[in-house]
């Protein structure tokens, strides 16, 4: 991309709320059930049926608004009218000019802040499948089937301001938003299952100019990866158009993941006139000040707050380790880092083991006994376990999850860390034992040893591997290397 162009991006994110039931009826809100089993007269839009607002959905929407620092306001539902077979009433109940959440912001891990225009409640549509066409496409299909299980599932649509200036930042925004949705208990944030769906509005302008260029909306972004790819591609397409003297035409474009490009879906002229008007079957929604305050009180700290706190705890060790900090907070594991640091473990080691070993088994890590966890880290810090050994015993410990405390406790609380390590079977091998294993390996492989002596240095790894295997990983790699050097003479 030419350096003289600045991309400007705004994201619209639809997320399905994690309620037990749908937005306007008592049907189950569940993914993956047998088609058309979670339906009733209301969510099928049968004549005479009427919607009744799900209070739980309103509460989750308020949680999202609170997490995004929005103002929570009295709101009104509107009807958005257009014909579509997967929409039972041929209108969607949504919020239009009076949304529940207005004007917030989202802090990203890189320190930037993206403004939030609004986050409003609406109902989801069903899903259409095409039978007989190529790969489930409508083109050439003999007929279509509609599953209304998803129709009426509560959604919150979160609209960002055009405050995003690169594909990478867009990806960061979507990832952070997902973390907030999960942390606030509002949504699963699963892009693959469609519980979080992202549309991107992309335009480019000459760097330094204030007014925005003509934008295109990109749909069908099913992962953070395709979001970044699609935006990158769209920026390139628009810049190429402008630089070749053409104009960008406002339109909706579809991201084709296989082809790696965006294609025209519909132009501005083809856009629907949705004929919005206030939904007469629902009354205006005015959450009381008490309710708003209760929701705010019930919210735990958001990822940005927790990252800030963890960074402060780590001090200098935090430098250059943003990814590890983001990962630990995302997996909800900073408690382990805090416990380790409080027990005197070096912040860098505490972060590294938590970001790597603990994060590899997040379910086990959330249940592991922190004292046991810290015990292993201390053994490593004091040199009684090699890094390899510490990683291995941590893996065992994390596999035991809830029983980890028992595992360590049954060894007895008494004794030095070395004694505990011995009882665990993880004590480091003495240098003498290591030397014996090295000479055994040399004797058993005379051909390789000869080539090593002739200068084939990479064979050091071959011998180290044999020693590690024989010692079940207890040997210290540095000692093995030193012994090989000594034998070489």
């Amino acid at each position: 991309m030419s350096g003289t162009w600045e991309p400007v991006i705004g994201l619209e994110v639809h997320c399905e709320l994690k309620t037990a039931t749908k937005l306007f009826c008592g049907c189950r809100n569940a993914f993956g059930d047998e088609p058309n089993t979670n339906v009733c007269p209301v969510c099928l839009g049968l004549p005479g049926s009427l919607p009744v607002l799900n209070e739980g959905a309103v509460e989750l929407a308020m949680r999202i608004g609170t997490a995004l620092h929005c103002e929570i306001r009295p709101s009104v539902f509107h009807r958005k009218n257009y014909f579509y077979p997967d929409m039972p009433k041929d209108y969607q109940v949504s919020q239009y000019d009076a949304p529940i959440n207005v004007g917030g912001r989202l802090e990203l891990p890189d320190g930037s802040t993206v403004g939030i225009e609004r986050a409003h409640l609406e109902e989801d549509t069903g899903k259409t499948g095409h039978i007989g066409g190529e790969g489930g496409r409508i083109h050439g299909a003999a007929h279509s089937l509609v599953d209304y299980n998803r129709a009426g599932v509560p959604l919150v649509e979160i609209v960002s301001r055009p405050d995003i200036f690169s594909a990478a930042q867009a990806r960061l925004y979507a990832g952070e938003l997902r973390a907030i949705l999960v942390a606030s208990g509002s949504s699963d944030g699963r892009m693959e299952e469609g519980s979080m769906r992202v549309d991107a509005n992309v335009s480019v302008r000459p760097a330094g100019r204030a007014e925005l260029g003509t934008r295109c909306e990109i749909k069908n972004l099913n992962s953070l990866h395709s979001l970044a790819r699609a935006i990158e591609h769209e920026i390139g397409r628009q810049v190429a158009l402008i630089e070749s003297g053409e104009r960008v035409v406002q339109q909706t474009r579809h991201w084709d993941e296989d082809q790696g490009r965006t294609v025209t879906l519909r132009s501005k002229e083809e856009a629907f006139d949705y004929r919005y008007f206030p939904e007469p079957d629902l009354v205006p929604l005015s959450p009381s000040a008490d309710w708003v305050a209760d929701v705010a009180r019930s919210m735990g700290p958001m990822p940005a707050d927790r990252r800030r706190k963890l960074t402060e705890l780590l001090g200098e060790a935090a430098g250059g380790r943003t990814d590890q900090i983001v990962g630990v907070v995302e997996k909800d594991l900073e408690g382990l880092v805090e416990a380790a640091v409080a027990a005197g473990i070096g912040p860098a080691l505490a972060l590294a083991r938590t970001a790597n070993e603990a994060s590899a088994n997040p379910d086990g890590a959330r249940e592991v006994d922190p004292i046991s966890y810290v015990t292993i880290l201390r053994l490593e810090q004091e040199g009684l376990l090699s890094a390899t050994q510490a990683k291995s015993v941590l893996a065992t410990l994390l596999d035991h999850g809830k029983e980890s405390a028992a595992l360590v406790a049954k060894l007895g609380e008494k004794g030095t860390p070395a004694e505990i390590a011995a009882r665990l079977g993880f004590e480091a091998l003495g240098d003498d034992s290591t030397a014996r294993l090295v000479s055994d390996a040399v004797e058993a492989n005379p051909g390789e040893w000869a080539r090593y002596l002739e200068g084939e240095a990479k064979l050091a790894g071959f011998f180290t591997g044999i020693v590690m295997k024989a010692s079940k990983g207890k040997a210290n790699g540095k000692v093995v290397a030193a012994e090989l050097e000594r034998l070489k003479g």
């Binding site: 007269p41 004549p47 009744v52 004929r275 079957d281």
Partner: protein
Amino acid sequence: MTAAVGRRGPALALAAAVRAGEVSAADVVEEHLAAIAGCDGELHAFLVVLADEARAAAAAVDRQVAAGEDPGPLAGVPIALKDNLCTRGIPTTCSSRILEGWKPPYDATVVERVRAAGAVAIGKTNLDEFAMGSSTENSAFGPTRNPHDPSRVPGGSSGGSAAAVASGMAPLALGSDTGGSIRQPAALCGVVGMKPTYGAVSRYGLVAFASSLDQIGPFARTVADAALLFDVIGGHDDRDSTSLDRPAPRCSSRLDDGVGGVRIGVLRELVEGEGMDPEVRGRIREAAEALAGAGASVEEVSVPELRYALPAYYLLAPAEASSNLARYDGVRYGLRVDGPDVGAMNAATRAAGFGPEVKRRIMLGTYALSAGYYDAYYGQAQKIRTLIIGALDSAYGRVDILLGATTPTTAFALGDKVDDPLAMYLNDVCTIPSNLAGHPAVSVPFGTDGLGLPVGAQLMAPALEEGLLFQVAAVLEGAAPALGLPRVAAATLGSGGRAGGEDS
């Protein structure tokens, strides 16, 4: 058969007799099925007669009575249901081809409530398609005729329900009123018809025409019967978000309270207004005098803002209808006319399934909501609605009840206004203000014109004043000149036309 005639009304008398074991619900049903067999060939009030279901329901009532249980205040009383009220497993057509064959999987709340009160659903009645009309001529299944003169319309859109009650085919009926669809046919057929406060009766299971205006209400031959039916169907329902959070009404207890000290305002616009038939005007003046004679204070009131009501209504109602009727697209239920793609299928289905009046209103409403026109039409109409509510509120600062005509004229001939939608729309000029304001109103028969056609006097009240409304209506009913028997009348009517005026 004399049990149908009671001092207060046939429904009250029937229920009392059935509860006392003096008459069996089975006999009552047979008598009304016979009445339908005798009259409905000429009137066509019913789209479907539920003979088997009614017999089974009556037998269940009789078993309850035999077991010493109370089947409820409407024990064994046959009731006709407008065919835009959902009935489980029974076709609900809204008199439209587009819903042909559709059987709702559920009952409307009001249907549940009348059944729970012991009433026996005897049939589904004809209406203007999707309740859009004032003559019941817009039915896809043919018009209903007025029992007082079968060459004339019964009014609409609940013309089938009004004709069924007037002719004696059912003592009670339910209708829906969006711009006068209960009160106008009640007036033209000489029965009592009442539209409750918006939100007083659950709309759950009423196929929507204009959601912010629709209300379900009772038809009966007497005020007491209408009050009883309203008491049964009213009260909060969790399934309707616009249902008011209030207990069931108890209007039946206020019918003897009289009008002493009640302030009645004769609403000039609904008496002297343009197009008002002089004979109708005369009856309304007599009604005012009768109320004054009974002890009410009567004064003239003018609410000039009401002249904007009709145009506002004909923007708001079609706008909501255009959205409410979008779902009839051939995808899920009812008629489907195939096409090369889904859009063509939608269009072909709707072209074949909807009649001309429904199409006209969908077009009007779609236009009124379109980008660039919303503020000028829908937005402006909403402002007028607010203006009218304010004007009526200030009138109610001076009087308790407003009195006017229900319709500008008595029943007109079939075909008279079919080709002139505007003339047809003007029929609703007197009834629309209550819908826009969400206020209750009732039409009570008050004499006839020179041809012997019934005239309806309309009483309007502020929101939630149904008790006062029925109280005044009962006095008006007592003072009304006797109405002759309809030309098409079943034996259930006895010999005196309205049962209300006599003792058994």
